[in-house]
Amino acid sequence: MNNLPQRDAFWNKVYANAKTDRDIIVISADMGAPALDKFRIDLPGQFVNVGIAEQNAITIASGLALNGKKVFTYAIAPFITLRCLEQIRVENAIMNIPITIVGVGGGFGYEDSGPTHHLLEDLAIMRSMPNITINSITDSVMAEHFADLSCREKKATNYVRLERATLPVIYDKNTDYSKGLSILRTGGNCCIISTGSMTHVALDVADKLAKKKIKVGVIDLFSLPINEKHFLSAVKGIKKIVTLEEHFLPGGLGSAVCEVLSDKGLTLPVKRIGISTEQGYCYKYGGREVIRKHLQIDAGSVAEKIDGFIKA
């Protein structure tokens, strides 16, 4: 199939739904996408550009939603989340006005744009609030699914964290996303739990380790908060867990996994791989792989770390 960037797969689906549902409104903070161009041209009454004013986008969206609209806000991911934390907290968490917050560029998606555009804190912050669900998107097929889901009547807000890069397709149209996670590889006593673009790294790591006759499982955890029941069922029998994220370690995916394990009294060894606050923000240029190597979250470095962890 013709693979699309996640944002285009997402907006194509929203566009298809919006043609027959006039209540669907897209609010862009001056952020484009080829798929949004036709939305703007064909459905001008359902497209609002608020300018580079992300906070305003969240508040207007919430007002529209209070008057019956199904609203999507759209901007570069760090700006539509962290910059708008106050608005999201009051309008969407406290008041529970349901909207869909769409951000492009989780992790180092905007690789050469520097730390203002890198996003290494959003999972920790967005999952700390009630009434917000995070959908951390792995491929364009999943993007399309969550676009469709977001067009339906909703009880709470979801934050759709889209990858900027076009990543390989690993899901198919019949995938069941309702568990919030998907077991992509099984085998061995150790399992990598990852999200977003790092799931592709995890698969690469599993391949590398397989060549050394080391089997590891891979779980793609794409919805937060974690669905505890399905999570516990997915890690049943696993002896060691590795979490892998392009995110600061405090409060991120690894923390979320440890919280569930701890709450359930499961004392498995867990190795969290991500970016420590000691490593800090990154000013390395030359592409995402350069950054990942520098921070030792590239497939080679991760494979080595896991090898050591398994043998320890």
Binding site: I25, T59, S62, G63, L64, A65, L66, K69, Q87, V90
Partner: protein, 281 residues
Amino acid sequence: MSEEKMAVGRLKEKANKIRKAVLDMCVRAGTGHVTSSMSCIDLLVALYFDNILRYDPKEPLDPCRDRFILSKGQASPALYAVLAEAGYFDPAELKKFAQTGGKFGVHLQKDVPGAEITCGSLGHGFGIAAGIALAAKLNRELQLVFTMLGDGECYEGSIWEMAAFASHNRLNNLVVIVDRNYLCVTDFTENLVRLEPFEDKWRAFGWEVKRIDGHSFEAIRETFKNIRSRTSGKPLAVIADTTKGKGIDTMCYNPLWHGLAPKDEEAKKAKSCLERSWDNE
């Protein structure tokens, strides 16, 4: 007595009743923004009891209702007292304001019938009101959306982001009332960071602007009498000059009263201020 005079007399009487209720609930609770409430009570009373706002307290979620969004959520005691008086809920609930077992506290809470939103953090209600107004436009509905801002709230950048957005999108179904009481939390606005020339700022953002005495029912009635037949495509900003603490002379012109309820002797003095007849002013 002319009809106008009778109407104004009724509104004054109502406003005095609301002021007493607000003072009583805040003194009882020992908390609440008394002065911030007093400054906007006349405006609220006109909106709710002079047929400006279209609402039905028996159908608080009627989709056709006009919306009133209190953006300065610290004036919740004023709105709660008005909503109780209008019949949205039992006035006995006011006595439990900010107390154990009470249904609402110091800042506005959306699950109170008629309150519409939760508010306390500033610079939110205005934008929500504009979003509601935009949806009404898209739906071709005739409802009006009113929102009340504090002048101190206008230091929030979000106010001006929204002011630009609302005029660009010709939200002429949106009416902003700014409670211009000149006092912020610790000082007078013009000492903090100048807001004036305030009208010019709103005009420059593309709004129709009216400046009125926010305690004159004659002026308020005149301002809103043709509100449903405006021909302007611009949203309307009504800058209402008010006095923070209005009606309680002992609490006016003193920033230290912000966010406080009077106690003991001060409470007695405040009550006696409100016992005076408004007609004698």
